[in-house]
Amino acid sequence: MSRGRIRAWCAIAVFVLALPGTADAYIHLGFEGSGGAKAIKWNVPRVRWYANNGGVPGVSASQFQSELAQAFMTWESVPTASIAFEFGGFTSAAPFEDDDLSVFGFQSEPDMDRVLGATSFIVDVFAGTIIESDVFFNSIFPWSVAAAGDPLRFDVRSVATHEIGHFLGLGHSAIGETELRPEGGRRVLGSGAVMFPISLGRGVITDRDLQPDDIAGVSDLYPDGAFRDETGMISGRVRLNTAGVKGAHVVAFNPQTGALVGNFTVADSSFRIAGLSPGPYVIRVEPIDDADVDSFMDPQGVNVNFQATFHPRLIVAPRGGSTATFDVTVRSK
């Protein structure tokens, strides 16, 4: 390959290339290039993917492929996004081989005992385009393709839907609430996005369906023709006393529809949330305290020492434009 290529990993619990500064909605995956931060995305009309021809107990190769196809269709069906996929066939190639094939398959990774699945990329670092992306499902866990889920096993399609979000270039969403388990790790109290970094657990199939945050994220990365004209953006900054706050999680809540869409402040304390239906929004700001900070971004400089705060004014997202920049002031814990 004559062009510069890098391989990066993105796991369900940990990934390394989240660049909120490159995104208007959501964290998009990317890298620091010579010209600054660059989001990565596919640049082909139909993305071809392959399924590894190996299965695991409870899931045959053909069942695995069928669940993957339905998960791909979930993303392809987003009306405001313009990404499409095609199944290339079964292959004996394993995920994470540098073979120009985007392969999904099971793999045993006992060292990654908190990771259900992970996504890797080979990227053209000049163009910022994804050349290859592989996804593995950790076969040390029990898996299921049962239509209603299996309470003892993890749902293949739910995890596939999450990993395909990464496959497309999306990072993790922080719309969710968790609590620490006494034995370590976190228990999810509630999740508002398929791209929340922690699974709802065995037997749960709710992540088969995208949430408004997921839809805004993929539409921002692969906008359909009228998406930018018909949605609006909210722009602001988060302040603690007079200082800016990096890594604040900002959520826009639509009081008419109940939709929650979020993003983070970047190093200069600014944030942008795009892909919003026009109308008024409640703005809620909270620290990243429901998952490890490095699940979302480089933790350096991230401030988590402030209280969850609501902005005192409703912010109105205009159709096809952006609000003027406004400040949200938070208080120390």
Partner: protein, 222 residues
């Protein structure tokens, strides 16, 4: 508070009409009527909307709860009508209002207390419909009428388009002639009081919203 203002406007219109002595009559066919006035647009409830997260059990986890209300607001209107027959006219109207949206947030999982966030929006309405004079109900010099029609709604914030939609309206009112002349450019002057029910449907809002309005205007017939 809103109700009190509505009553004041209606009372003003009634007193003003009582002082007039001219006998009210429907404008003859072919006459153009122009009016300007002001009124009060009633509020609308958007209701409660929880910020729910999905859970493993299937029961939602409530991040917080919101309750949204569109406040009442004064408005200005201008109207043009054309008498098709002695009892029937068609008319078009433009109105501008600046209602306030108020959302109260409470029961947050992390932030204590509740608070209300407020923001004003500019609402422009362009509507048109039919007016029917109810001559048989005329009394005390007041000419009752019924109105109905449809229109277009445009909401702006900081001069940027927020939302568009349509509305249906129905209602009625009374008209009282202040003066009339057999000749001249202006043939008569009247005052008019309207009471309307507006049903708004905005593009991105699944539900229709009902808003009452009351207005008084000065009408000139050409």
């Amino acid at each position: 508070m809103n109700l009190r203002r509505i009553i004041c406007i209606v009372a003003f219109a009634t007193i003003a009409t009582a002082r007039a002595e001219a006998q009210t009559a429907s404008p003859p066919p072919g006459r153009l009527q122009v009016s300007v006035g002001a009124g009060w647009l009633g509020g609308a409830e958007f209701g409660e909307q929880p910020a729910n997260l999905r859970t493993a059990s299937g029961n939602p986890y409530r991040l917080f709860t919101s309750d949204t209300h569109l406040g009442g607001a004064g408005f200005f209107e201008a109207r043009v009508g054309f008498a098709l027959a002695r009892r029937v006219a068609i008319e078009g109207r433009a109105a501008i209002a600046k209602p306030e949206l108020q959302t109260t947030v409470s029961s947050d999982a992390e932030a204590s207390g509740s608070f209300t966030a407020v923001e004003g929006i500019d609402q422009y309405v362009f509507d048109g419909g039919i007016l029917i004079h109810l001559d048989e109900l005329q009394a005390l010099g007041l000419m009752p009428f019924a109105i109905g029609g449809l229109g277009y709604v445009r909401q702006l914030h900081d001069q940027q388009l927020v939302e568009t939609g349509h509305l249906f309206y129905g209602g009625g009112g009374v008209m009282r002639e202040l003066f009339s002349r057999p000749q001249g450019f202006i043939r008569s002057g009247s005052i008019r009081a309207d009471l309307r029910l507006n049903v708004l449907s905005l593009e991105l809002d699944e539900d229709s919203r009902s808003q009452g309005s009351v207005s008084a205007s000065l009408v000139l017939t050409f």
